[in-house]
Each structure stands twice: as structure tokens, then as C-alpha cells.
Amino acid sequence: MAHFDENVRPFSNEWLNERLAIDKLKCVLSTEYWIPKNINFLWAMGMVLAATFALLLISGIFLLMYYQPTTELAFDSVNYTIMSEVQYGWLWRHIHGVGASVVFLIIYIHMFTGIYYGSYKRGREIIWLSGMLLFVLFSAEAFSGYMLPWGQMSYWAGMVITNLFSGGSLHANALVEWIRGDYVPGQAFLSRFFMLHVLLVPLAIIGVIVLHFGALRIPHVNNQDGEIFDFDESAELYKAGKIKESKVIPFKPVFLSKDIFVIGVYFILFFYLVFYHFEFAMDPVNFDPADSLKTPTHIYPEWYFLWSYEVLRPFSTDTGLVAFGFAQVIFFLLPFLDRSPNVAPASRRGLFKYWFWALLIDMIMLTFMGKLPPEGIWSTIGFVAASIFIALWVAFPIITATEKKL
């Protein structure tokens, strides 16, 4: 039996230590969690994401109290009850709507930071994989949430996206009906997506966030130079008071102060959007109630799915589906396709530098084309951009294999 001091006061530090080892926990999680000095504000995006996720969770709980998940009531419960009856209901909705949109912007920044600095490589593969898994889960979360107000875009996006599961020429209509629980998006569809949105997917997200953080603890966070050094040695220096010579700082309180500063700036922008420009996250078409006998003239997804939608669109159905599937999984393979030995910023890596910027620009291009109606010159540009996207990934292993060791 472990040693328990009889004289210690309940809930004092000592008392908790004997039962929960809180001092040790603090060391592991914060005061002796070492962060390299040499990282810039882009590394704060992880914490920004965590903060945004917290906002989504809290605002979601308040929306949940008045939302009605039935096809008759859903639209009004959002657009009337929450927006005009519930006091400050609009606030939760705007936080939720803006958060859902902005979270993807931050995810993309986070992702491309990782790609730029090679943070997905050697030893950090699980961080990358769990991060990509989070991206997929957030996509599922966003899509299922988009269904809930049961507006025209909700309905038709639900129709189009679930139709993708028929697999083009495979005509797997039975599968599509199984997913929907009906022949078209209806009550069964709404209820199950409601369940996914408020329970199953968030639960999975929280689990994978824990994994993502855990995967970071051992290989440690990368730095701006991709420099490899001995964290333990550096930590000893820091603890011995040689802060200047040491290459690391403790997460709490030193690094956290920087994180919190970035989060502070971010929140100013975030709440500026919430209060003054929430409409960018709300599609006007979704203010018409769902109508199964009328399609909106132009169906498109939210901005963060446009690039992958545009990879699908310019091809014939089957080719398009294959290309779409390719776009969904290819990022997962990044650490294994990269054949170069270097962990360094793209700017020092030879051809990879051009590859990185080409990919980024191409994806922005795809995003714009995905929003425009697929006519004339736009569909040509979309086709070219989609082909470039695929070509870039095919060229990737070759480009990185030619890279010389730095």
C-alpha cells in the first residue's frame, strides 16, 4: 500500500498529490513539456483550433436547447425561435456559424504550415495522420451540421452528397437509400444526421484530439529550421538556469503566453465577424425552407469544400468520382510519398519549394472555380486546375527523390 499521510488536510496539494499525482501531471502536461524556442506564430494555430472548437461546443449546446430535429419544425426553430424569440439566440447561432467556417480556414493554415516546414516527416507521421483524420471528422461534422436548418441548400446538398455514394456507374442506389433511411432526404435522414452532429462525430473528434496531442509529446514539435536536437539535454540546461543557451522553453507559462497572445488577436477578428459580418458564413439559399420539388439553380458546397468539389466536377461521372476519392485520401499519404531525407522549410528544399506553392495556388484556383457556374472558360480553367492537382501529386515522389541531403 502506498504511503498516505494521516495528518494532511483534505484537498490540500499534498493530499491531492498522494491520490492523483497532480504535481507530476503538471510537469508532464505543462511545466516540463518542452517547446523549441525557434517557432513562429503559425505554430499557435493548434491552440487557436482548440479554442475555436471550444466555442463551437459551447454555442452548440445552447442551440441544442431550442433546435427541433423534425422536418416540419427544424427550419422555424432555427430561423424563428432561435433567431428572434430566444434572448441572445442569434449570438450562439452566429458564433456557431462563423466558427464552423473559420475553423476550416485555420485547419488549412495549420495543415499548410505542417507541409511547408516538413512537420509531417520522420517520427511525426502519426501526428500528420491523426491530423488528417481530424480534418475528415471536421468535414463530417460540418456537413451533418449544414443539414440541420433544413433549408434549400441543406436539402439539396444532402441529396447531391449522398448520391455520390451510388458510385457512378455502380448504381448502388440501395446503399444511398440505406444511408438516408428513406428514398430521399427526409425525417430519418434528418434525425440520424442530427445524432451524428451532436453526439457521435464530436465524441470521435475529442478522442482524436487527445491522440493528436499525445502523438506530439514524444517526437516533440518541429521548429522553423527543422533542426534536430536533444530535448532532454536542452531541458537540463533550462532547468539549470541557462535559459539563453537552452533551445527550449516550457509550454507553461512561457510558450503559453505567446499562444494566448495569438488567440487574443484571433478572437478580436473572430468576434468582429460574429457581430458585423456573420453573413459570409450563411448561404442566402438556405433561408428558403427545403423543397423537394424545386432545385436551387446553382448548387455548390461551402467554401472549404469547393476545391475537392471542383476536382470532381469537370470530369465525367466515374472519372470524377475517382478523382474526388483521390483528392480525399492523397493528403494522408504525404509522409510516405515524400522521399527526401530533409526536414526543412520548403524555401531550402529545392524543387519542393515550387511544388508547395504550385499546390497552394492550384487549390485556391480550384476553390474559385468551384464557386463559379461551370460554363465556358470557367469549366476549362476548372478542368486544367483539377488535372494539375492530380499531376502535382503524381510528380511529388519524383520531385522529392531528386532532392539532395542538406
Binding site: H171, W178, G181, D182, Y183, V184, P185, H298, S316, T317
Partner: protein, 181 residues
């Protein structure tokens, strides 16, 4: 003795593994079935159309299984014209009594938008990505990969029951005129 013990543990491990796998498969099966389409939704999936009600060259949109159904009665002139110009498309029409009808699911086979009927040109245009269909709902301009699908139907006198598969519908499937919707 030690060996003996190991054998026992192995056996327990395998037994536990086996039962867990069995239970897992059972649970997955139950989950799959729970997610299935409800019987009440399935039984409600029939619609009867009275074909005498339709007028020539006037598109009527009905509803079957929540999907829009286009019904268009063809004029005798149109039927003659099709016989001459597009005899293959004629097979897409359903003959009830003396009338010929275009009956199809009004969801574009590309990505599922609802195409609009243009009486002036007697064709359908899907505004989403510019797909076009002729008067029998056969595709004439990509991206849609095929004509609009014909819902399963059964002819009962002057009536058409959607959701049941009559011999005429099965023939259409065999001929590759439509796919199982």
C-alpha cells in the same frame, strides 16, 4: 507445470477472442439493421397515377417516394415524329390505353438537380451544369451520363402504379432503356 499453465491461458484467450468476434459481428449486424429503411417508409413507397387526367404537351410533376416524377403526355404528331427520327427513343415511352407518356424521375442523372421543361423546344434543360434531354427524357447533351431514369411501374388499365415492377418495366430494364431506380 508452467507449460500446462500457458496452454490453459492460450485456450482462454482463444475462447474469449472467439466469443468477442461473434458478439462483435452480431452487434454490427444489429447496428446495420437499425440503420435500415423503416418498413413504414417502404410500404408508403407507392403512388397511383390516373393517366386519363393528363393533357398533351403539358408537363405535370407528381411525387413518388419524395422524388419529383415528370409525366408528359405526347401528342400523336410527336409520336409520329419520333417514329421517323428517333425510333429508339420511342421505347422510352410508356403506352397506357391509346396514349404515349414520358414518365421519369425528374432528377438529373448527373448530380440530381431538377431539370426544367421547355415547351417551346419540347425538351428539358438542367440549369445546374447545362445538361439537356429530349422530349422522351433521353440525354442529348452531357454532363448527364444517361437519360432520366424511369421509375418502376405497373400498368393497371388506365392507371399506372409507381413502385411496382410490371412486365413492361422489366422489359425496359432488359433493353437497357433505364436502370433500376
Amino acid at each position: 507445470m508452467a507449460n500446462n499453465n500457458k496452454d490453459r491461458r492460450d485456450f482462454m484467450g482463444m475462447a474469449l477472442g472467439g466469443f468477442t468476434a461473434l458478439g462483435g459481428v452480431g452487434a454490427l449486424y444489429a447496428m446495420k439493421c437499425t440503420w435500415d429503411v423503416l418498413p413504414s417508409v417502404k410500404t408508403a413507397g407507392f403512388t397511383t397515377l390516373n393517366m386519363k387526367d393528363y393533357k398533351e404537351n403539358e408537363l405535370v410533376v407528381e411525387k413518388w417516394r419524395g422524388k419529383p416524377i415528370f409525366v408528359l403526355k405526347q401528342s400523336p404528331e410527336m409520336v409520329e415524329k419520333l417514329k421517323k427520327e428517333k425510333p429508339d427513343d420511342l421505347k422510352r415511352l410508356i403506352k397506357v390505353g391509346n396514349g404515349y407518356y414520358t414518365v421519369c424521375i425528374g432528377l438529373c442523372t448527373h448530380l440530381g438537380c431538377i431539370p426544367g421543361f421547355r415547351p417551346e423546344t419540347s425538351d428539358f434543360l438542367c440549369a445546374c451544369h447545362g445538361g439537356q434531354y429530349d422530349v422522351t427524357a433521353q440525354v442529348t447533351k452531357a454532363p448527364p451520363p444517361r437519360g432520366l431514369d424511369v421509375p418502376p411501374f405497373k400498368i393497371e388499365g388506365e392507371k399506372l402504379v409507381l413502385g411496382e415492377e410490371g412486365p413492361e418495366y422489366k422489359k425496359m430494364l432488359e433493353d437497357g432503356i433505364t436502370i433500376q431506380a
